[in-house]
Point group: C2
Chain length 369, copies 2
């Protein structure tokens, strides 16, 4: 058996429950807390790898479900792996497809062994098992692979949540047995909804597998913000200090700050790029819509506290003009800024934790945003 | 009266009728033959000024008609001029709006003094005169302003063409009288359709005004390619050696090469960027559609002879994937490559003219494309 790269996470500093760490992966180092831009189908919408380096992204997320369907394994393997295919040479984490498949609802059929589903593109039938999902991610050559999980939309009955935890646990064990590639770390995903007992059961089973990292799944799927924050805190406390903790699908400044406070190390969310495409600007002083009339003749930068290339080059008036004219440069530039803003906020969070000024930093941001 | 910057065009070399020149403008030098990317509403679709520098664009074109309507004079002047508004510090040429207004057809009413039209955006009524169009372009601070002209779609009756030449001539005279700003050069636009006598009459009247440059308008508006090439040659020969000659609306590799051969110095066209958005790749070996199945597993560069950032970074397979997935990065990257390809071709044309190898270069390209 090939030796797995365990213990590649280093905890550098803590301040309260907040953690400052460093995750060493095959394609580079990820300073944590880290925000991962989402590149669903091997592209962070509208942006190039050079743009992502420019916003100081250290790791991006892509999706097993989407890549499986298009362009498919053969093309990515033929290109020499996902990194070469999309020309991104820093770390990549791929989600397992659990979240996407369970979003298909009427198009999928679940059993203990795996899940059969129909493509949203052409209706063709496919099957995911814990084993083939790990193998696919290893074939892509990603730095972090996620175990296949059963993600339940909230609110949900306890029976459904319990069945999801049972299958997710079994699938994590099978994923761990199927895991072969040392350069790809396997992370498990905790489920259990808003049920403390189920969360505890799910966490204990995953931790027993001694995986290189653990994700908190099944949040940001319909519950209130307060419930999300509360359960992220509860779930984080169930995980071992010495492994990275990844809260899936969280990505507003407020939510990232509120959950770093619980000891979360990694985040991903389409929020900054989706907002970028629809004209919603994320700034240190809150979010606003670029179509607002007050921006038409506002020649100041989008976010005066941001040092990204967009804020240093273009005015609010110009960005407003692009959105009003339906010009594609608008979504591109605003996506770039929004990612730069999220990433610079987690950079500041890292510095605050190191300097033991986390609470002041946290409270200052939560008041502003 | 303010002194106008005449004689800023230097003819460096000729080979047959083909010319290698240099146009010195307020915001920099333009080596000719030059291809101008089109940034209709103060943005070359999908690309930043940094991208345009990367493809070695030395001058871009924007449109009086569109900028007049949105964002309007006040916003651009408020930003400190068009260069600062769009963050492009190299030369800008603005078209006069003649072409756009006459494309409106049912929405415009022409008289000897000017043209009244309704906005395609909100139906509001506006009026262009030769004088207010020059003043607008001067207010924008552009390097080259075009005189308002009457552009006739082909085929057309001689009466209509003759009336268009008469008004275009009168408007060029009024534009020259209205021209005030030394840092903005005024170019006149020749009309006359496919009528040699009218072309000669139009050219003679413009040349008598001793303007810093002359454009050939009223081509690429419905005639055959052979007629366009023939009349570009006829029209170019009517213009003085010592002034730049700008053929409006031409932008395939074949057409640019075929008309550089007649002594054309400047070109603009939406073609490379429009093709980029619709998945049509322009290469040294012809054009092809990125949706073609043969690209799905083709890991070579888009154009093996192109050294642009897109060809150096991404494969045909990746670009095909972006277009097949409807991802906005596809149009962006292909627009960038297509512009880089057009501009590198005119760069090669310049070198060939200097080295007196123009005919060999021309024939080699016309066979391939």
């Amino acid at each position: 058996m090939i030796e797995k790269t365990l213990g590649s996470f280093e905890l550098i500093a803590t301040d309260g429950a907040a953690r400052r760490g460093r995750l060493t992966l095959a394609h580079g180092t990820v300073e944590t807390p880290a925000f991962m831009p989402v590149g669903t189908v091997a592209t962070v919408k509208g942006l190039t790898p050079a743009d992502l380096r420019d916003v100081r992204a250290e790791i991006i997320l892509s999706n097993t479900y989407h890549l499986w369907l298009r362009p498919g394994r053969a093309t990515i393997v033929g290109a020499g792996g996902l990194h070469r295919f999309m020309a991104w040479d820093r770390p990549i984490l791929t989600d397992s497809g659990g979240f996407q498949v369970f979003s298909l609802e009427s198009r999928r059929k679940l059993d203990d062994d795996g899940v059969t589903f129909r493509s949203h593109i052409d209706g063709s039938e496919h099957r995911f098992t814990p084993e083939n999902v790990v193998a696919f991610q290893e074939d892509l050559g990603v730095d972090v692979a996620m175990a296949l999980d059963v993600c339940v939309k909230l609110p949900a009955e306890r029976d459904e949540l319990e069945a999801a935890v049972r299958r997710t646990t079994s699938w994590a064990e099978r994923s761990a047995s199927a895991w072969r590639r040392g350069a790809t770390l396997l992370f498990g995903i905790m489920q259990g909804g808003l049920d403390e007992e189920l969360r505890s059961r799910s966490a204990a089973a995953l931790v027993a597998l001694d995986l290189p990292g653990y994700a908190i799944g099944g949040l940001s799927v319909g519950e209130s913000r307060d419930e999300m924050i509360r359960f992220a805190r509860f779930a984080a406390a169930l995980l071992p200090q010495e492994r990275p903790r990844y809260l899936m699908g969280v990505g507003t400044i407020r939510d990232v700050i509120a959950t770093i406070d619980s000891g979360i190390d990694m985040f991903d969310c389409v929020y900054p790029t989706r907002c970028g495409r629809t004209g919603r600007a994320i700034t240190r002083d809150g979010e606003f819509n670029m179509m607002n009339a007050r921006f038409v003749d506002d020649f100041g930068p989008l976010d005066p506290t941001c040092s990204c290339a967009v804020c240093e080059t273009f005015s609010r008036a110009y960005l407003a003009h692009l959105f009003r004219s339906g010009e594609m440069l608008g979504p591109r530039l605003l996506s770039q800024h929004n990612l730069a803003r999220l990433i610079s906020i987690v950079e500041e969070a890292r510095a605050a934790i190191e300097q033991k000024t986390w609470e002041t930093f946290r409270d200052g941001l939560l008041i502003r945003t």
